[in-house]
């Protein structure tokens, strides 16, 4: 295949200037061919989302990534605003709403809690995957393929080296997506997309 897939990263971070993870991830991947980074809080500081422009952007891409911190088991409010306004009835879903059909979509999130906290016995009682159900269902309703999430845990315990390795991992995962290197069946078997390009055990903290 000669041309890459087109990826749209919808970044939603209210204080990106204070973020350590997300700014690193973005810095690392924004140069990739075929990838567009769309910084929602920079574009719409007044939350006045331009629906037409956003819909056009969606049409121009094959894979959509909602990249955001996992605030209160969900996304920052501007991303919710974006969902509410852009995915309109008759366009994204409902009668005649098939504009997004066949595209793929996923979340790329950072969580303060450890992976252990996100299970039935853990502090957060649900797995990340379970908590992402609203996004999953949104994708389903729009006829999109919902890919496993890219997840970074323990964000406030990470050292610089860890974060840099996550950034490289993110780059690798996105590269695989851009060039269609993973098979459908593989996605189904993965809990997170991180597993597509695992960080070697001996390098982890």
């Amino acid at each position: 295949m000669n041309a890459p897939q087109k990826i749209l990263v919808l970044l939603a971070h209210p204080v990106l200037e204070r973020s350590r993870i997300h700014s690193r991830l973005i810095n690392h991947v924004q140069h990739l061919e075929g990838l567009t980074v769309h910084d929602l809080y920079e574009k719409y500081p007044d939350f006045n989302v331009d629906v037409k422009a956003e819909q056009k952007l969606l049409l121009d891409h094959d894979i959509i990534i909602w990249q955001h911190p996992f605030y209160w088991y969900s996304a920052p409010p501007l991303l919710k605003q974006w969902l509410d306004l852009v995915l309109t009835h008759g366009w994204a879903y409902g009668k005649g709403g098939d504009m997004l059909k066949g595209k793929a979509v996923m979340n790329a999130i950072s969580c303060g809690g450890s992976e252990n906290a996100y299970r039935e016995e853990g502090r957060n009682r649900f797995t990340v995957r379970e908590l992402l159900a609203p996004f999953d269902q949104t994708a389903y309703l729009c006829g999109m393929k919902y890919l496993p999430p890219f997840v970074i845990h323990d964000t406030y315990k990470l050292q610089q080296a860890d974060m840099d390795m996550y950034a490289i991992q993110y780059e690798q995962v996105l590269t695989a997506l851009l060039w269609n290197r993973a098979q459908e069946a593989e996605y189904a078997a993965l809990k997170t997309l991180n597993e597509l390009c695992p960080i070697p055990k001996n390098l982890q903290q």
Binding site: P14, V15, R18, S19, Y41, E42, K43, C111, Y156
Partner: protein
Amino acid sequence: MDQQSFLFQALIFLAAAVCMVPLAKKLGLGSVLGYLLAGVLIGPFVLGFTGMPGQDIMHFAEFGVVMMLFLIGLELDPAVLWQMRRSIAGMGGLQVVLSAACIGGLAILSGMQWQGALALGMTLSLSSTAIVLQTLQEKGLMRTGAGKSGFSVLLFQDIAVIPMLAFFPLLATLPKSSGGHDEHTITHGLSAWMHSVVVLLSVAAIIVSGKYLIRPMFKIVARARVRELFTASALLIVVGIAVLMTQVGLSPALGTFLAGVVLANSEYRHELESDIEPFKGLLLGLFFMAVGASINFNIILEQPLLIAGLVVGAMLVKALVLGTIGKLFRLGTDQNLVFAIGLSQVGEFAFVLLSFSVQEGVLSREITDILTVVVALSMAITPLLWLLNERLLLPRVGTRAEEERSEEAFEEKNAVIIAGFGHFGNTIGRFLRANGVHATYLDVDSDRVDLLRRMGFKVYYGDASRQDLLKAAGAEEAKLLIIAIDSAEKRLEMIETVKKHFPHLRMLVRSRNRDDAYDLMNAGMLHVYRETIDTALRVGSDALSMLGYRKYTAHRAAQMFFRYDERAMKELAAIKDPDEYLDTIRSNIEELEQLIRKDFMDAKLDADTGWTREEE
């Protein structure tokens, strides 16, 4: 004049003003007429409290006009003057030339020599800057077509006085009368060209010192932080220039006007304005009283018909000339009426020119005595003419809509009334209309009213603070009144009217700045909108973003600052003691200091802690 009699004079003048002006205002006659009546009352022909018909006081009071021109100059920087060049030179030039020609022509027909007739024409062509500007401001008409045109013409006339003064000696046919004050000037005895050089040098001196002397001086004075010192230096400048100008035989008013223009761009402009303003007001009042007192009723009684004929004739000719010019420059009919009738009187500079004509032997003492009375009378009846125009003529012209109005009465009344349809009001109106909310508009600019009516807006012409107009616009049924008019006094006046007659109306009021907002809050307004705060914060937020701040962070910072500033304003407004408040228009600097200090104390404006934990 010994001290006792000076104080006694002051007592009489002040008492007369304090009694008559509020009375005149109450009767809807305006303050100018109030002062004039006060002058007549204390003058030699009614109560006789002031001895000589006003001459001494007149000289002193003319200083009010000088100060007024200084203030006008301050309002105009050279760029604005340049913008207005067409209307100043065009309208003003035409007015002076045509009026002088017509009046002079009539004088020649009645058997005067051409030289005297020409001087007479030029003298009577001038209108009263003092009366007209004061009235335009009081009625909030400065920004209308009539206001702007009137201002241009007056400005040209004030400038035209200089060449007239230079030209009059050439028209002399009689021997120079002795006792003129010419001997006192330093240019006395100089040859004509030397005189011109001196004049040019003094004008240059004013411009240069305005730039390189006065501003540094203010800097030093301001650093001393003694308020009355600033007032003193402001007065020093005005008086100094007036003296210099008189010394070289020029109009002091023009000199101070020039100085005002030079200082218009300086950082001390507002300070100067608020320092000089009260003196100007008082002295202008005195000036109007002096005009009232100087009306020589004996001459009127001796030749009542001649005097009446001259007054009516002169004013009629001037009004016709002005009306023609207004038509030529496309003023709407009613704007033209305000313009033509408003400027039809003869102005204060005529007194100067008349006494100068006697000195230089251009006109005889008998003629100037009669003319002085004519000028004073024409000034005295001006406020009455304004009133007649407003009550009788304008309703007929301005409301070509009178029939329409009766039709409109059957329509459903709008829930929103917007007073003032300038840039501010029309943005609100367009926004509401875009959202399907139709409003009723009130405006004083008839050209705008016409345009809006043609576009299907429901607009009433007239002074929005009038109860009858508000009623006609449906104030009884409306829910909201948006006060978007430009003049701060008019807004307060309007609020009083509404509180009294339409207490159910919720008012949203535009305010220019903090001081304005305090006034409005003290008048009981809850919804006060400073016209600059949102824009200023948008600029601030964009500036932050250009410096590398994230847009959303900058946006929130601006929103937080706004919330904080509104709260701080409410606190500061509450602290203000109402007595103290009356004289605190000048407290700007101290208040700024207070504000900034408060900013430092309260300013953990950055209070977003909710997001941080995850990323720390």
